[in-house]
């Protein structure tokens, strides 16, 4: 699975999870649904419980959240991404 780099001009949000198992499970579920995500180091200011997080376009976030719910993948938070 190649990680497609997201375009800088888009608005992003960060999904945080309690454990990397959920990060990778979410990554898989979202990619399978055609949503572009990138695995990033969880931003310090968001005080993540696990070191990695998922980055995705704001415009995809609504669909992503409902997919996570559908797949029963618990999410800690969704925050805007400040690069």
């Amino acid at each position: 699975m190649r990680c497609v780099k997201l375009q800088k001009k888009d608005e992003f949000c960060v999904l945080l999870f309690s454990s990397v198992h959920y990060v990778f499970r979410a990554e898989k579920a979202l990619r399978e649904a055609g949503i572009r995500v990138e695995t990033i180091t969880a931003p310090r200011e968001l005080t993540s419980d696990c070191g990695v997080a998922l980055l995705l376009k704001q415009t995809d976030s609504e669909r992503a959240l409902s997919l996570l719910k559908e797949n029963k993948i618990p999410l800690v938070s969704v925050s805007p991404y400040k690069s």
């Binding site: 990397v20 198992h21 990778f24 499970r25 180091t41 419980d49």
Partner: protein
Amino acid sequence: MEIYLDNAATSHKKPKEVIEKVMEYLKETSCNPGRSAYPLAVKAGRLLFDIREKLASFFGVDEPTRLVFTRNATEAINLFLRGFLSPGSKVLTTSMEHNAVMRTLSALSEERNVRFEKIWGDGRGVLEPAQFREALRKEKYDLVVVNHMSNVSGTLAPLEEICSLCADMGVPVLVDVAQSAGTVLVKMPSEGDVAFAFTGHKSLMAIQGVGGLIFNNDSLGKRVKPLITGGTGSLSSKEVQPDFLPDKLESGTLPMPAIVALGAAIDFINSTGLGKMENHKRRLTRSLIKGLSEIEKVTLYGTKDERQVGVVSFTLKGMTTSEAGDKLSSAGVYCRVGLHCAPSAHRTLGTYPDGTIRFSVGYFNTEEDVRLAVDEVRKIAEKR
């Protein structure tokens, strides 16, 4: 000549796909999974996640976080027994258990006054569901521990019936699938509270260094306390152990090369077909039983029918097992003799304390191996 018939100890040789995947991992990834977000760490994290998912699904479990990696089956059994049993707990187990179970229960009986009773198999190592039904009716137990496949006689326990009885009675079950996983289909029951302890290096055909514990529901996993605590890559800001699976029970750097080997081994088994591999081992088992039974001085143990897979134990009249083992070894037939870390199982078969000569076949053994090994036994028997 070199004929390896000690696959119940560890499978030999390993599939070339397994070796190649480990080499590839060591050359190209070789990184700690899930702790960081640089590409190599993410790659390792994804790899670990995929393998966990694949392995859970191999056991019929659709929630991969219910699979906890350990070093081997022994550690998985220790993790469960030590993390689940409280002072005064009552355990029902069987005479066919490996010392991984027996010694841990004995230690817990000293340390925590855990009490345990054994259901005795018959002279062929057979356990009947009725024995469990009766024992569970008479007493209230906190746990049943059962070995799915004897490493001494190859006898399969009636696992489905035992798990279903225990589910009806509300008693959790720990199943030692060290020998059966990769030999026969080992499917997790959906009813009741069941945990499987497995090891990667035997019939699952991976390399030494990885095993695991897998639960059929989250609440059973939550009831197990960790054997060791430490870093998990999660909840790093907190100095207490996370309470979610698998992190709660999986501290420290994982043996990734062995886990990668196990992932590749599951791919190998899935693409070859577990049924095909089982049939091959069953054919070799039948040939061994037939060949050995034609030698006058041989006494065979076990059911000698479809309840016996992969393992054939026997003794030679007028010769100790150690003497036979040395002679076979000199002739290039590699097997294990003695008590196989399961003294009660030998008491059950009536072969304690000298034990047996154990031939155990693997997927890479052939009919020719069996024929040659039987010939060597015949020569040794007839020289006497």
